[in-house]
């Protein structure tokens, strides 16, 4: 029998070992650069890790970023399963935040929190969806390429928000282009407050209730995609449109649904930022989370679990990176950005680089390869 039979990698190697090796590779290369600018890579790594987990405050920030990335990552993923590339998370998140803001500005004095919360969630979803509705419609019924239209709608969102904040919702007699701060009953409780109710004292961080909602969204997306008929139809359309037609699935409706959900998920970034952290509508609070969501989703292989892990990684990079810039003068924020780029490159794009070696290794470790059983 052939000794050449290669066993496929065990699952754990595929989903755990390889990513780990990739991260190490990325850190190694990053380390070389750190050396190049005359700093100690290990110290840097330590600061990065401690800065991300070391003390309760840092953990809070890490998870706060993670929350945003989960939302945008899921948004991209849902669209991807219908083989649609929603590059517009940025704009949808921005407008989603607007929705939350408007609702809260209108009702914060009037309604109690437990009524405002669902309203805010709906507003975020609704506005996010609304912002993708036109591109979605054009994609479904006019065949206009979703990538172009969503890029355009990102720009349009920036202009719209800039106009609204400077000329419309800016609180009078205040220099900065921001809305007034919501009344306290319209604040998403912070995690330290929530834990406080249970008598657990933690440092104040921007991490807030939205994290729970993010988790809910993960579960929802998983169920929706793999455990409902709509998810089934969505994946069918995404994988093989003519088969969908054969099955009597209206791919146009599906496209609308997929992008609608995608937009809603992106919109929740607005909730985390506006209702959870800043308690007011302000300029460019999205800060690129939408775009990074693309990398998050793809690195997470468009699966909620993967996305959570990828989001965590990015959370670490953001918070730990900030700490690096804070602690080591030589590390400008741009330097940190560059390091992030490297890590995305290795963990996201060069994922399979080391796979052959690993496979080779595994099959060397394989004692007597058993004859491959045949099919058909």
């Amino acid at each position: 029998m052939s000794t050449k039979v290669k066993k496929p990698l065990p699952v754990w190697a595929d989903v755990a070992l390889i990513p780990l090796i990739n991260i190490l590779l990325a850190l190694f290369v990053a380390g070389l650069i750190v050396l190049a600018i005359g700093e100690d890579p290990f110290e840097a790594l330590e600061i990065l890790i401690l800065g991300a987990f070391g003390y309760e405050e840092s953990l809070g920030y890490t998870l706060y970023y993670t929350t945003n990335f989960i939302f945008t990552g899921l948004a991209v993923a849902v669209a991807f399963h219908a083989s649609l590339f929603n590059i517009g998370g940025e704009g949808q998140a921005y407008i989603g935040g607007l929705g939350v803001g408007l609702i809260l500005l209108a009702l914060d004095g009037i309604l109690p929190f437990w009524m405002l919360l669902p309203l805010a969630i709906m507003a975020a979803a609704l506005f996010g969806t609304a912002w993708v509705a036109v591109p979605a419609y054009l994609q479904a019924y006019r065949g206009s390429h979703i990538v172009i239209t969503t890029i355009m709608f990102n720009f349009i969102a920036y202009f719209l928000m800039n106009y609204l904040l400077v000329d419309v919702i800016k609180a009078p007699a205040q220099m900065s282009p921001e809305s007034r701060v919501f009344a306290d009953n319209a604040h998403m409780p912070f995690m330290h407050e929530i834990l406080g109710w249970f008598g657990i004292e933690t440092a104040a961080t921007p991490l807030n209730g939205s994290l729970f909602w993010a988790v809910v969204c993960c579960i929802f997306v998983w169920i929706f995609i793999w455990r409902t008929r709509w998810g089934y139809m969505l994946r069918t359309v995404g994988q093989n449109e003519s088969a969908a037609q054969y099955a009597g699935i209206d791919s146009r409706k599906i496209v609308m649904v997929a992008l609608g959900i995608s937009g809603a998920l992106a919109g929740f970034v607005g909730m985390n930022e506006v209702m959870g952290v800043h308690h007011k509508v302000l300029l460019n609070f999205v800060a690129g989370y939408g775009f990074t969501g693309i990398a998050v989703s793809l690195m997470g292989r468009n699966h909620p679990v993967g996305i959570v892990l990828a989001s965590l990684l990015f959370g670490i990079l953001y918070q730990g990176g900030a700490e690096l810039a804070f602690e080591i003068p030589a590390f400008s924020r741009e330097f940190v950005v560059a390091i992030q780029g490297l890590i995305i490159l290795f963990c996201g794009a060069l994922t399979y680089m080391c796979k052959p070696w690993i496979e080779g290794l595994f099959y060397m470790l394989q004692s007597d390869p058993k004859p491959a059983e045949k099919e058909a």
Binding site: I37, F85, V134, P135, L138, R142, G143, S144, H145, V147, I148, T149, I151, M152, F153, F155, I156, F159, L160, N162, Y163, D167, F291, T292, I294, A295, L298, M299, S332, E334, F335, V336, V337, A338, I339, Q340, G341, L342, I344, L345, G348, A349, L350, T351, Y352, M353
Partner: protein, 324 residues
């Protein structure tokens, strides 16, 4: 009337200037994507090229050497993209995003270290730039109404790279439709199996495609920092890579339509610039933001109204693996 014509002409001149980097990037993206490699790192490549070109041009005092430097770095990044996507079947989009992020950070870091001007490169002396070329008779003819100024401002009076960009559109469509390489390029983006079984190396073919993509983005970047401006400023590509990508799709991955899309966008942009602060009868002053958003809105409208379904090359973004 008189100055209306002037406005019109200056708008067209502006259109040409604004469109140039878009056109170069659109052609670049076209080569890459026709070969099946999605490239959203046009932005990053252009930015890197702008940085290196400006730096090199400053150090050597030669725009041409700067151009060479810009092209080199962009090709280098293309090879990195290829290494990830072609050799290691990595995800094209992630690789692109990574390159964009890497570059936006690195340019500033290195800029600060090398030039101590906060990521900006020193202002280039005129002789180290690509300066406007004035065609013969431009002055004399400019007396003639309409045609004169048109010739002087729109046709003549741009720098070399502008003319190069338009020439390259012609070259691109010639290469894509009239040469062996073009035939194979179009084939590999549609069905790499066919190319492979025809005895052509899919890998090598795609690498060549992304390298051409690099060369073109290199020129685009150089235009930004050595021709249009006289120094590199952080993030100076300001999203034009994405616009170019959109324009290329708008043109359905075909050279001339893609160029027209770029020109359209440049035109809308040039118009919006000149519309800022105009007072419309009745409405009063239109908010700046609306005017600024106009090009993007109109692009969507045109796309929806007149451009049919854009069908990407079939094999785009799909890694080529025989043993599934």
């Amino acid at each position: 009337m008189e100055d209306l014509i002037n406005i019109a002409i200056s708008t067209l001149a502006g259109t040409v200037r604004v469109s140039t980097p878009l056109i170069l990037c659109a052609m670049a993206g076209l080569f890459s994507e026709r070969s099946g490699i999605i490239d959203i790192s046009l932005e990053g490549k252009m930015l890197a090229a702008a940085f290196v070109a400006a730096g090199v041009a400053y150090v050597t005092g030669s725009a041409w050497v700067g151009l060479g430097g810009g092209i080199l770095i962009a090709v280098g990044l293309s090879l990195l993209h290829g290494f990830a996507c072609i050799t290691h079947n990595g995800n094209h989009v992630v690789s692109g995003v990574a390159i964009n992020i890497l570059v936006s950070g690195l340019t500033v870091v290195l800029g600060v270290v090398w030039f101590h001007q906060g990521g900006q490169t020193p202002t280039l002396p005129q002789e180290a730039r690509f300066l406007p070329i004035h065609f013969p008779l431009a002055e004399t003819l400019s007396e003639i109404p309409v045609i004169g100024p048109f010739y002087a401002k729109v046709i003549s009076g741009h720098n070399l790279l502008v003319y190069l960009a338009f020439a390259l559109v012609a070259v691109t469509s010639w290469v894509v439709y009239k040469t062996r390489f073009g035939l194979r390029l179009r084939a590999v983006g549609e069905n790499p199996n066919a190319v492979d079984t025809a005895g052509i190396s899919v890998t090598f073919l795609r690498y060549r495609a992304v390298m051409i993509c690099g060369i073109l983005t290199g020129i685009a970047g150089t235009y930004l920092s050595v021709a249009q401006n006289a120094s590199f400023v952080r993030e100076m590509s300001a999203g034009q890579g994405y616009i170019a990508l959109a324009a290329m799709i708008f043109g359905k991955w075909r050279p001339v339509p893609a160029m027209l899309a770029c020109l359209m966008f440049g035109f809308l942009d040039a118009v919006s610039i000149r519309l800022q602060g105009v007072v419309l009868p009745g409405i009063g002053e239109v908010p700046v933001q609306f005017i600024q958003a106009l090009p993007y809105i109109l692009t969507v409208v045109l796309l929806a109204g007149f451009i049919g379904k854009a069908i990407a090359p079939k094999a785009i973004g799909v890694p080529y693996v025989k043993e599934r």
